[in-house]
Symmetry: D2
Subunit: 329 residues, 4 copies
């Protein structure tokens, strides 16, 4: 049984809390959050203790940390946990600054602790099936990858202001997915965007609609289509076109009951947002982390992956601003 210190008890912290508790090999030992009331509630629910960061990292009974706190605390907590010799699971991103990410990864490397970065979509059964079929040769050589990723509705401008911008906050998942599916790193990035959904997002200095084009060393291209609003739930689709056909992962609907009536034939919308759509992915992700803790496998999503996704997000921003393709080599 592995004892886990959970940092952060917000929305995503609660998702991981459920999965840590449900897994037969892990339990929550400590909850750490400056919002003490929330920490106390979560700790009580899972029979854990509220601790400070120092207490948790000094506790020899704690084997690993699960970092779900505010983005700007990630890098510090990673470094502290690494120095304390704890295995680390950290929600994306490591940091919004590439320099800070690199410094942090150096510290992790020195400590040689196990480190898994949380790009949850890599564990989605649909996308995983697509990747497996591709790797089994179902469509030959990859030519064009099309990722559609649209949030159900836009975040408040206040969130946007501290988010690092659409590329670092939202597209970063798709940039990582492109690397994950294709199995290679892009050689160039071109990004296009507009503020169409909410003028307040534009006033906050960001865009809410984006199209990104990546070129890969193999010649293949990826086309990412993002929007902060779909109007019909969480739109998460992937098409991979290859020399012998296409693989296509569709949305997961809320249910499978159709209504055929006088006006039309209607089906349920896609599941509302990431908590619903990626529920299974979060469980599979935690299973992977447990496998890493048990020494059964190496982390499939490392600090390099966190860094590379951020490199691509920054290049996207540069391309958007310069109206030019940004070369990465």
């Amino acid at each position: 049984m592995f004892n886990i210190a959970l940092f952060g008890c917000g929305r995503i912290g609660k998702v991981h809390a459920v999965n840590i508790d449900a897994h037969p090999m892990t339990q929550i030992r400590a909850v750490i959050d400056p919002y003490t009331e929330g920490a106390a509630q979560l700790a009580e629910k899972y029979h854990a203790d509220v601790m400070t960061t120092e207490e948790a990292l000094a506790d020899p009974d704690i084997h690993a940390v699960c970092i779900c706190s505010a983005t700007d605390t990630h890098a510090n907590l990673i470094e502290l946990a690494a120095k304390a010799g704890k295995a680390i699971f950290c929600e994306k991103p490591i940091d919004l600054s590439l320099d800070r990410v690199r410094a942090c990864l150096d510290t992790v490397a020195e400590s040689a602790v196990k480190f898994l970065v949380g790009f949850n979509r890599r564990y989605d059964p649909q996308f995983r099936t697509l990747k497996d079929l591709f790797e089994s040769g179902a469509i030959g050589k990859a030519e064009t990858l099309v990722i559609t990723s649209r949030d159900p509705s836009p975040p408040p401008a206040d969130y946007v202001r501290v988010s690092g911008g659409i590329f670092r906050d939202m597209s970063i998942h798709d940039l990582d997915m492109a690397r994950f599916i294709m199995g290679e790193d892009p050689v160039s990035v071109s990004a296009h965007g507009a503020c169409l959904v909410d003028p307040a997002i534009g006033e906050a200095g960001d865009i809410d609609s984006a199209v990104i084009v990546l070129h890969f060393p193999s010649g293949a291209m990826a086309n990412i289509i993002n929007s902060r609003r779909s109007g019909y739930g969480y739109d998460q689709r992937i098409e991979l076109h290859g020399s012998k056909g296409m693989l296509k992962a569709g949305n997961v609907r809320e249910h499978l009951v159709e209504h055929w009536g006088e006006d039309d034939c209607s089906s349920a919308k896609p599941q509302y947002f990431f908590l619903e759509r990626y529920k299974e992915a979060y469980i599979a992700e935690w299973q992977h982390f447990v496998d890493v803790l048990e020494g059964k496998t190496e982390p499939q999503c490392t600090g390099i992956d966190g860094e590379q996704a951020l490199v691509l997000a920054e290049a996207s921003l540069e391309s958007l601003e310069t109206h030019q393709t940004v070369n990465l080599t």
Copy 2:
């Protein structure tokens, strides 16, 4: 070029008129209808003459008749045309009385004219594809056939009263389809029904919802599901389950544009009724009749088929009334 005498210029007569005219090998030479105004309009449109039955059948330039008149005139016209040596295309049914059908077929047999009965659905590209795939061995040996056939909305009670009842009027198409797909004649019929859609149909002595079960010599079964109302267009589906899988012919939708919105994801309904859904089938049916006229092929749907479908419809009625399975052998 074959000259055609068109009997009847109602809804179905007009469907055939368009197809006769559009076919490079046929043209309308005569229009015959007691409703003289309608006959005159149709004749003018297609540069044909209004004739009496006697004139048309005596005209040596007329090669074939297309009988689209009222049901109770079919058998007489078939006999007259046969005696006049004209090739015959006749809309289903030959007659609502089995004795009358048999007498009529005897006359046709004596004359040895070419005779095609119009079960239009046999020419539907979807059902034809299903049959072709089945015959190519795609699902092995047939086990269960499920035919769903639901009209968009119920006919008026006045029509019901002279229609011969749901089995002779509506289910007859599905009974013929079952014989067509399975390639064998049922050995027993069981029918179940209710008046659920419109009490006026019940008052007219008929039912509006039916379930029919057929057993075939091979052991296979067919399950026909009928209703005079779908509420969402013309519901025309076939599933054929075999020893190695299933073939499934779905509805043809009005268009292929989906709308994904706040409430649901909606698609277009099935095409409204037989004029829309079986438009291509009527064209293919006429092509087949032309092939018969040219001597390229034998009629695929003969008097026997018209007779057998009626035998099954009558057995359905008997089963409904006796609450027993009716054996046909």
Copy 3:
């Protein structure tokens, strides 16, 4: 926390063991099975004790029993548990003999213990959504219910011989579903069948393909289509046609990735069998039993439901043998 005695550690016992253990309000306290090795393994896995029936029922710490043992032990165990004052969850069927079922229910009634019969499909999220939409008025008044239920592949003839026959063993789920969806008890049953899949099933005195038609007091009809073999996984579909349209619950596929290639566009098959398809249903069913234990709700599926489904299965058999509709009133 409710302590559960689990009777039977075969396939379905293991399904319930996982769910009992995962539920925060229940734990397995005792495992009872004549196959002692299996009982010991399961008991060890869930930190429970192996007990005899007598020990378990005498143990005051045990609040409820979960009966997953062989069918012919159900009625006895129900009666013993009822007399011992334990709440009861029992997998369907109560017994294959209607007399035995009725005697057993009398005993349960005298003891006044809580009693839930396990018709798992009632808790399937798809069918539940269909029922909810129907009850919300989405399609008006019910007219025709069509239930397609096909197993992936036939059971061995040895199983068939002790199964009670297809109606009591397999169709009973669909007969219960028909009552559940329609909210009324049928007034007549007509059943049709054949042995098409495996001659050994016929030699065992059973059929493997069936079509059942039910009439309800409201006039509505239900049409159940069963087969012991689909050839493409577990085919579990429901269509409910009403006065204002149709609701349609489709199969749940193994995944949602499509492959478009040179030959065709392919999708995944339906989930293989009940363990996969009804995984969520079993969890929801157990949640419902916990709600019953907590006194939050009454059992949604009682002894009466178990009895009525068997009444319909027996009437189906009578109809099959007599080739007549069997009236139930």
Copy 4:
């Protein structure tokens, strides 16, 4: 009845010949093609005369020309026909050189003849339905348009060499579609591409895979995804995302029969290529031209549309070469 002079009797000429002949208001009067054998065959089939360009344009009985000849003859023929006062239908493109297009359009303007440019996809019932639903307000304000357009298999390098390149030859349809759907002209173009399908295309100086991004004055964006090879038929899809949801026009499949078997559930591929997919579009396009000839409507697709699509294709090429966004204002 309008008499038509048909220039060019290759693949697309034959498509129009069928439609001209089938339309009750038009007939082929003259066939003009340097390949005299082909011209003679077509003329015989449709009871027309083989003529020279001069003869046809001098014939006062000829009301309109249908130009389906080689691309490099279009502009000349348009000018000659305009000077001869004939109404003109011309297959896209007017010319591969923008200067030549503009000179040609000046001549047409001087002559004031009726002039329709053949962008066939504008008449596709699916895309037309999407546009109509959009204009009726179904999804609010347009935000992102995604056009997927993939040919079934690549053309020979010899064709590529004279085609004007992928943007002028293939993407031009999608660039026109983007203008047609959005109802506004783009302000910038960014194009990305690669040679992935066939090295011979690269050796011919072209690419075979492209991604184009357009910005519109309203702020909306369009994303065009092209490939010379799908591997599964003609992939022609449009998604239009708006402020209140999405409209999605899917592919038209070869048929609607599904096969569910041991391995998977398979559906038919998209119709093979433009002759199949746009068959109805060509008929509707010709109907529109007849409406123009009859003075019932103005041409919906004019010389300006032909010119603007070419402007966008040229800007795409410039963007591809400079790796920069090209501004059009």
